[in-house]
Subunit: 333 residues, 2 copies
């Protein structure tokens, strides 16, 4: 997008606060932009709307591909907007490490919800670093809150670190599962189960309804083995069907029950406070890296150093040290 | 450890090059230390042994807990030392996010191999950041190579990002699996399967032998769906039993076949060259962060800023920016 399509920060801020969806979308595009001028503008917009954020319930949803996340969010979102809520759905979609392609692919996603004026759906761009993607998602979330959306769903595909990133920006974390799809509690999933406030067994319809109920009992038993949470919330196991919408009202009730409990015991605010601190540290790391790599002196030397390291002439550690020292010295000017 | 237990860099370097296991262990302890004086000493030792590294085959092994990694490595290691190899086993063990505890726990690990003079086993310390843990593992690997170990196994527990870290430091990446433990190719595992040079179905003994063979066919078919690798190596599926040692010689043959192929087509060197470049960038990020957080000015201000951000008085982004600018300005002195 060329710079003639840009407005002053106040235009975005006023537009967002008045619920203008076009200006909201444009502001999110700014936040996602890698242009230096856009970054400055985006920072001003985010700073401006910051006092008007925080009033939503932020829900993270994860689950392996095929678990039915899109159908679940489509049905759950329909329920929420019927109840009078304004829903924004953001997706974290880090590129596949190897193929660089989007994991979500060209799948048709949440078509009905996307057409509903009470809902706003925005996929996150695939980025080269998870840190970058999650910073952008977090800022998009704040923009949506300022625009008046009172329920935010942040969806992530199950690829390890992205769940941790999402956990770091939501109030409630929900894991979608399937009955009979193997021992989900073993191995790599254990860390994710530990982070969850609810396990929801999806596709509990037709022939799978019974299996889902059995799985629910098993998972409920397994969850007893996990240590108590800081929130004093005991993670629930629910069954539902994104397809038939059965079980969805109970899930929304559970989330409200959670909010009441943790707002009462102080965890809700404490958790958001800690998230803000962590966010500051993430942003520090991000700034340190970007200022380093964008520095003319670094850009001038890095290719030659890379070639030397590649050919084994220089040691990786020694050259890293030299480049960082060079960079720091240049900051004196 | 107090500083009176430290030697000059040359003492470590000469000791390691002569195969002294005690000095090797002490040097790895240095590399793992967070003391500033130890870091300087460790850097000198690693720089000193660097010309004597690179002559091993580096094998990464991953798999979910319960897949039998320890038993596999114990038996596979016994085979290797019998064939005249010197084997070092390093483990990457990032702490569990939530509980902060070690995933490996107090499990008895590789007792027989640990007593064998031809093998060297060293668990990595649990660290607060994966970046820190993997940097230390990589340096420990180089120290082991300089000490004459010609096969290095780097083991990781299956927790997402640590596999990516290991993939970034090995020549051959092997995923241990179990037959009938669910659809391992779905979801979160897909990214890991993409990285692998071999899938090995372990515990193919007794009643599980038949199931393992069936699983082998299924995985072999599934692997056909993955795009060709840069190495032009077609990932293999093998069955074995760590317990009975069946199938292990075939796995070693496969790894040698791999090495011959990729040394022939240039991928072996190209991959290591690229790893060195990535390592430089990782070390840059590490240096940027540590110099920032250890700076007196940052240490002085950060607590007050954290409290302000926590209480919602300051914005996370604004304070991050302010602190980074403060830090850069101070570099002029």
């Amino acid at each position: 997008m060329s710079s003639r399509n840009r407005f002053a920060p106040e235009v975005y801020i006023q537009g967002i606060l008045s619920g203008d969806r076009i200006l909201l979308s444009r502001a999110i595009t700014l936040v996602e932009s890698s242009l230096e001028s856009d970054k400055v503008l985006a920072a001003a917009v985010v700073e401006g709307i910051l006092p008007f954020t925080g009033k939503s319930i932020r829900i993270g949803i994860t689950g392996v591909p095929g678990v039915g996340k899109s159908t679940f969010i489509e049905s759950f979102g329909a329920l929420l907007v019927e109840k009078g809520h304004k829903l924004a759905v953001l997706a974290i979609d880090p590129s596949s490490q190897q193929t660089k392609g989007s994991i979500l692919g060209d799948k048709t996603r949440m078509e009905t919800l996307a057409r509903d004026q009470r809902a706003y759906i925005r996929p996150s761009p695939a980025g080269s670093t998870l840190g970058g993607v999650s910073a952008k998602t977090r800022e998009a979330m704040l923009l949506c809150e300022a625009a008046g959306f009172d329920v935010i769903i942040i969806e992530t595909v199950g690829v390890g670190q992205s769940e941790i990133a999402v956990k770091g920006m939501v109030d409630f974390f929900l894991l979608l599962m399937l009955a009979g799809a193997g021992d989900e509690l073993q191995g790599i999933k254990k860390g994710i189960v530990e982070m969850c406030d609810a396990l929801v067994i999806n596709k509990a319809d037709g022939e799978m309804a019974e299996a889902a109920k059995r799985a629910r009992r098993e998972y409920a038993n397994a969850l007893h083995l996990f240590p108590a949470k800081e929130s004093f919330w005991f993670p629930q196991v629910k069954v539902c069907s994104g397809l038939t919408a059965s079980g969805l009202p109970e899930i929304w009730e559970m989330i409200q029950e959670y909010r009441d409990k943790v707002q009462g015991n102080g965890f809700f605010d404490a958790n958001r406070s800690q998230q803000r601190v962590n966010w500051m540290h993430e942003h520090i790391r991000f700034l340190l890296e970007t200022t380093f790599y964008q520095h003319p002196l670094v850009q001038k030397s890095i290719k030659e150093m890379e070639i030397g390291v590649k050919n084994g002439i220089y040691s990786s550690i020694a050259k890293a040290k030299q480049l960082v020292e060079l960079f720091y010295k240049s900051q004196s000017s």
